[in-house]
């Protein structure tokens, strides 16, 4: 038997001579993860990443049978009912999409409350927000692809909301919807957006986001920063934290498999222009708070004015959210730090309340 270890060492030496891997490995070996009572939240970025990988794999598999354009519904029907395990692949893709958005929300709020957006990690905060935004567009465009009744109306409503902004409607009709109504051209271009344009934007951004965490390491929550250096505990990233990460991923994949197998994603009746919107139709949960905000404001301020006020309020909120690293700069705590925390709590509670209220407010 050839000595595999010897071959491995020789091979490594050959590659290392050319690519100079030592500094990278040195960095990896020196990498540590802080251990404290909030360590739990460090897993959520990794969970989001794991689910993204699931999305890539199941998405490629779906593309093997999916046909955009006029055939879209028929092809998803075939995937769901005729192709072996097609229902499972489709369910995994739909469930993982939802879990990924949820994991990113948890990740974002944990970063917010740990004040991990503070110097030098501002770019991590902004790229993270951009990734979340892209995920929402992924979700919105993917939702149309089956072209069933729900996808049809969800897209119709979703595209009508920005349409109230003066001058926006003709642009949306020309560039996004491809006509006055959602049609086979809409689904074709949403497909191109979903499988080519968005990944092309998402993957480099994600790479940069992951590079930043290598560069800066995990941020310490304020309570830990107050401790003297000697009192802080940490574990090596390799292999200790990496293995824990892997164990968490295994749990996530098992939960995902159970959800997909026992609650398979449904396919509604085919989209039909001449059918009224189904009773109780509502957006996906991650769009619910925005939707409900519009609805609530619409009751006070009717018509386009209400819509515009809602969109304006939401936009201002998002801008403030993105700019928080400029406001809350004191790493040692203080009045601004406290206010930022209250702002985060307010946003979290408002979103949760609007989402929950949205589900009670359907009738």
């Amino acid at each position: 038997m050839p000595d595999l270890k010897k071959i491995g060492t020789a091979l490594y030496a050959w590659v290392n001579e050319r690519l100079d891997l030592e500094p990278m490995l040195k960095h990896a070996r020196a990498k540590t993860v802080p251990v404290h009572k909030h360590t739990f939240w460090y897993y959520w970025g990794g969970i989001s990443l794991c689910l993204f990988v699931v999305q890539v794999v199941t998405g490629i598999l779906l593309m093997i049978y999916y046909r955009p354009g006029p055939d879209a519904y028929a092809s998803v029907r075939e995937i769901t009912y005729e192709v072996h395990f097609g229902w499972l692949i489709r369910s995994l893709h739909a469930w993982a999409a939802n879990l990924m958005v949820a994991a990113i929300f948890v990740h974002m709020f944990s970063v917010f409350f740990m004040k991990a957006y503070q110097k030098p990690r501002e770019f991590g905060w902004w790229t993270g927000l951009a990734l979340l935004g892209l995920c929402m567009v992924f979700g919105f465009s993917g939702y149309l692809l089956p072209m069933d009744e729900l996808s049809f109306f969800a897209t119709k409503v979703g595209l009508s909301i920005p349409g109230v902004i003066p001058g926006a409607e003709p642009v949306i009709a020309a560039l996004v919807r491809a006509g006055p109504e959602v049609n086979e051209f809409t689904v074709q271009r949403f497909f191109a957006l979903h499988v080519v344009v968005l990944p092309l934007l998402f993957i480099p951004l994600l790479a940069f986001h992951l590079f930043l965490i290598q560069k800066h390491g995990n941020a310490l929550p304020p309570s830990e920063r107050l401790k003297p250096e000697a009192a802080r505990k940490s574990i090596p990233f390799f292999p200790n934290f990496a293995l824990k990460d892997l164990a968490v991923w295994l749990i996530v994949i098992n939960v995902l498999a159970l959800l997909a197998a026992f609650f398979p994603w449904q396919l509604g009746p085919q989209a039909d222009l001449l059918k009224p919107a189904p009773i109780g139709i509502h957006p996906e949960w991650y769009f619910m708070s925005q939707f409900e905000l519009l609805k609530v404001i619409g009751r006070v301020l009717t018509g386009v004015a209400g819509e515009l006020a809602g969109i304006g309020l939401f936009t201002v909120g998002m801008v403030l959210w993105a700019l928080i690293p400029f406001y809350d700069t004191e790493t040692g705590g203080g009045r601004r730090a406290r206010r930022a925390t209250y702002f985060g709590l307010f946003v979290l509670l408002a979103m949760a309340a609007l989402t929950i209220y949205g589900y009670f407010d359907l009738k």
Binding site: L61, E82, V83, F85, G86
Partner: protein, 162 residues
């Protein structure tokens, strides 16, 4: 060789080393890993293989009816689908008929009837077959073309497995 002395004192039986914790965990992980690989691999294989399985079901076809094929002129041929794959129906100068698979036995190209050479010709690598029997007569094909039974009836030709 002398017979072994059964009464001689035997060396003490080798003690089985106790299964170490490390070995146990390693074996368990290998089993779990294999289970995961199977749980992912099986659905994936079936998912990708679906169209091929449908084609296999189609291949069970015993017979096809070619409407109006009896009007095929002499010394000519037509391609048709038999069990999802191309097949060739030939009407010869002596008013006899032949039906055979049109998939070259060399590398699977679709063959054609070559009137001038009076042979079935494969354009990919120049293989030639006898038009009446499907026997490989020249070029790279290793095997003859498979024959079907052609039954010429008024208004149709019925092709079935020979």
């Amino acid at each position: 060789m002398t017979k072994p002395d059964l009464l001689a004192p035997q060396p003490p039986a080798e003690t089985v080393p106790p299964l170490s914790r490390r070995k146990f965990v390693k074996a368990g992980m290998a089993v779990a890993g294999a289970a995961y690989a199977a749980a992912l691999g099986y659905p994936l294989y079936r998912y990708l293989a679906t169209p091929a399985e449908h084609a296999d079901a189609l291949a069970a076809v015993k017979e096809v009816t070619l409407a109006e094929a009896d009007k095929l002129p002499r010394e000519s041929a037509m391609l048709f689908k038999f069990a999802g794959r191309p097949a060739l129906l030939l009407h010869h100068a002596d008013d006899t008929w032949t039906a055979l698979t049109a998939v070259c036995t060399h590398l699977g190209c679709t063959v054609q009837f070559d009137k001038d050479r009076k042979a079935i010709y494969c354009a990919c690598h120049g293989g030639l077959y006898d038009p009446k029997t499907g026997a490989n007569i020249s070029g790279p094909p290793p095997k003859p073309l498979l024959n079907y039974k052609a039954q010429v009836l008024p208004g149709k030709v019925v092709v079935s497995r020979a």
